[in-house]
């Protein structure tokens, strides 16, 4: 009876996935051991994998991109990924612009890995993850991590089932990090970061992505003492004073210290705060440009929620204000609106650095020397690339499955073509002359991306298993 019910539900949900969109591969969305067993919602899975909760897709919160535009973007991103070092060193502005427009979902995982420098790290430390993965973790950390596994995005199909593939991989990544940096151990806020990465890439890649975020983008955020996040709270406050004085004064007046409202925002890189489409766009920009994006998003939210006299009147006390900052109005979180505001806000990496120095001075006066010396923060892809030497080999794409499609004779790197033309046309309409690489009838955009919940071991390469190639080809990662 029980089993029948579960089967019934599984069938229903699988159907909903099948009908919901071409982005999903109906074959691989659920493994044979259904990830949704025991989940009682009858709601549909959205295109991001959410089956419920506040972050689920809604047409009001997300911005639609026409399919043709998406395909053009994919072609451009494929080209950039193929000539990554050149693009970063010579045409970084264009890369940034494309991150701001949103990375195509099919290539997001790969792009994030390149942007963060995780790709180079992985190549230069091949087998490292494997080694860490095979080791036993410190029981102290293992215990804490295990308590958190079922508490990350409980409404995402990947993480909904206890002991399912998502939770298993999350454990592997977080445990590996505690072995990689035993001095740091595990901080609870790392779990949502790792989970977001795992929604887009296999465990090994997610591990290196996490390493880069913890060491380069947000150094010290997760270390014992949590000084870096508190310091960033002060920086945020100081920037707010400049960007929106009324909001700043209001928070000062009611003694609302930054760590009362920004801890989760920053430590989880807004992954638990915004609708999912906005989370992804924020991460696209964050991984490209670094922490200034966190500050900008935070400032936009504060400005929107506390920016006018009427709004401040409505929250006369400390608690009311904090309630307000917790119940952010959906219209401000809407993808198009939020990204536009973030891009408009003139806060640069230099502003952040300048404020960092001032706040650090103040901190030393009031709290004494920082007890944890974190390495300098790196503001995005370019800084990381120049700090971490790499070879061309490190950047070579190594897809596990190679799809051969007819190559149009005039296909050259956009980089090469543009260079020849010597002028760079701006973004408004640059895509029309790019040949569509998806000429084969069966290759839809979805072929490039499937949120893959299988573990690395299950993810077969063509060499390992030729027989499964036709099916696996849809899982081109």
């Amino acid at each position: 009876m029980m089993a029948q019910q579960e089967n019934g539900r599984l069938f229903e949900d699988t159907l909903s996935v099948m009908t919901l969109g071409s982005q999903f591969d109906e074959e691989s969305s659920f493994g044979s051991d259904s990830e949704i067993n025991g989940f009682t919602s009858s709601r549909q899975t959205d295109k991001y994998g959410f089956i419920g909760g506040a972050q689920q897709y809604s047409s009001e919160s997300a911005q639609e991109v026409p399919l043709e535009v998406l395909r053009h973007r994919e072609a451009k991103w494929l080209d950039m990924l193929n000539h990554w070092d050149k693009w970063i060193s010579k045409r970084f502005k264009k890369v940034r612009l494309r991150c701001q427009k949103g990375i195509p979902p099919s290539l997001r995982g790969r792009a994030w890995l390149y942007l963060s420098g995780g790709k180079v790290k992985r190549e230069q430390n091949s087998r490292k993850f494997e080694e860490l993965d095979s080791m036993d973790g410190d029981p102290k950390w293992v215990d804490v991590i295990e308590r958190d596994l079922h508490r990350q995005f409980p409404f995402h199909e990947m993480f909904v089932s206890r002991g399912g593939h998502g939770q298993q991989d999350l454990f592997r990544v977080l445990k590996a990090y505690t072995l990689y940096r035993p001095d740091e151990g595990y901080c609870q806020a790392q779990a949502p970061i790792a989970a977001v990465l795992l929604m887009h890439m296999p465990a090994e890649d997610a591990f290196w992505g996490l390493v880069q975020i913890c060491e380069k983008y947000l150094p010290g955020y997760y270390s014992a003492g949590l000084e870096a996040i508190q310091l960033d709270g002060e920086i945020l406050n100081a920037l707010l004073k400049r960007v929106c004085p009324p909001a700043y004064r209001h928070l000062e007046k009611h003694k609302i210290e930054p760590i009362l409202y920004m801890t989760e925002w920053f430590m989880c890189a807004f992954s638990r705060t915004l609708p999912w489409s906005s989370v992804l766009r924020v991460w696209d920009m964050f991984l490209c440009d670094g922490v200034k994006i966190m500050f900008r998003v935070g400032l936009v939210l504060l400005k929107c929620m506390l920016g006018s006299r009427e709004k401040l009147k409505a929250c006369p006390g400390q608690y009311e204000t904090m309630e307000l900052l917790r119940a952010l109005e959906p219209r401000y979180l809407q993808e198009g609106f939020l990204i536009h505001q973030v891009l408009e806000l003139p806060i640069s990496a230099r502003d952040v650095e300048r404020e960092h120095r001032m706040q650090l001075k103040r901190w030393r006066k009031t709290h004494g020397e920082l007890s944890y010396k974190s390495p300098p923060r790196m503001h995005g892809t370019r800084a990381i690339m120049s700090a971490e030497p790499h070879t061309r080999q490190d950047l070579r794409q190594k897809p596990t499955i190679v799809v051969h499609y007819p190559v149009p004779s005039d296909t050259k790197s956009e980089f090469a073509r543009v260079k020849k033309r010597s002028t760079i046309r701006k973004a408004s309409n640059p895509t029309l002359d790019i040949p569509n690489p998806y000429a084969l009838s069966w290759t839809l955009t979805s072929c490039l991306y499937v949120p893959d919940k299988r573990t690395d071991k299950q993810r077969k390469t063509p060499e390992e298993s030729n027989s499964s190639a036709p099916k696996a080809s849809k899982n081109l990662y």
Partner: protein, 211 residues
């Protein structure tokens, strides 16, 4: 008439080790729900509960504070101006009970009432619907523990089965009001302090005497 109603606003902390059920207790108390799908609390979270207390209104701001040790560096800010606290442990995990005294020390070292007293704190032995194999089945020992460690009382609770949560909250509010009256008394010595309403007596068998 509504305007004549006296209002009290109390900030109450809910602290204790990671995964002991702080968020679940608050959700049960405020929203009358229970779920296994709560996210781990990062930093701090809040909820508001409004109670009718005799002829008065009591608003409780419940502050749900992240349980991982490394957030301990932020607790000074989170604790500020709180009037009462729950310290929660998980009856199935002895280590979470061992951490109780650490939480109590942290609280007392960072926060005192204007008369120098520590704030009213109630100990919650949560997940009592589950199998447990230590100490809380010895209520005499627990009473003793509370006395020695400055808790005004303790309750066995279950957020899942909705056991004793309301009782514990009422008990804490009663103590907060009592300690507030103490403070008033010491500030204005000639005020007559109102007696606690005896029909509000708690059904719980664990509470210690108010002195």
């Amino acid at each position: 008439m509504q305007n004549n109603r006296k209002e009290h606003l109390y900030k109450i902390l809910v602290i204790g080790d990671l995964g002991v059920g702080k968020t679940s207790i608050i959700k049960r108390y405020v929203h009358q729900t229970y779920s296994t799908n709560y996210r781990a609390t990062i930093g701090v979270d809040f909820a508001l509960k409004v109670l009718n207390w005799d002829s008065e209104t009591v608003r409780l701001q419940l502050w749900d504070i992240a349980g991982q040790e490394r957030f301990g560096n932020m607790t000074r800010v989170y604790y500020r101006e709180a009037m009462g606290a729950f310290i929660v442990f998980d009856v199935t995990r002895p280590t979470t009970f061992e951490a109780v005294s650490k939480w109590k020390e942290d609280l007392d070292s960072k926060l005192t009432l204007s008369n120098g007293q520590s704030i009213a704190t109630v100990l919650l032995a949560n997940k009592c619907d589950q199998k447990r194999d230590f100490l809380t089945n010895n209520s005499l020992k627990m009473d003793q523990y509370c006395k020695e460690n400055g808790f005004v009382g303790w309750f066995e609770t279950s957020a899942r089965e909705n056991i004793n949560i309301n009782e514990a909250a009422n008990f804490l509010v009663k103590h907060i009001i009592a300690s507030e009256n103490d403070i008033l008394k010491s500030v204005v010595p000639d005020t007559i302090s109102p007696q606690l309403n005896s029909d509000k007596e708690m059904t719980c068998s664990y509470w210690l005497s108010l002195d």
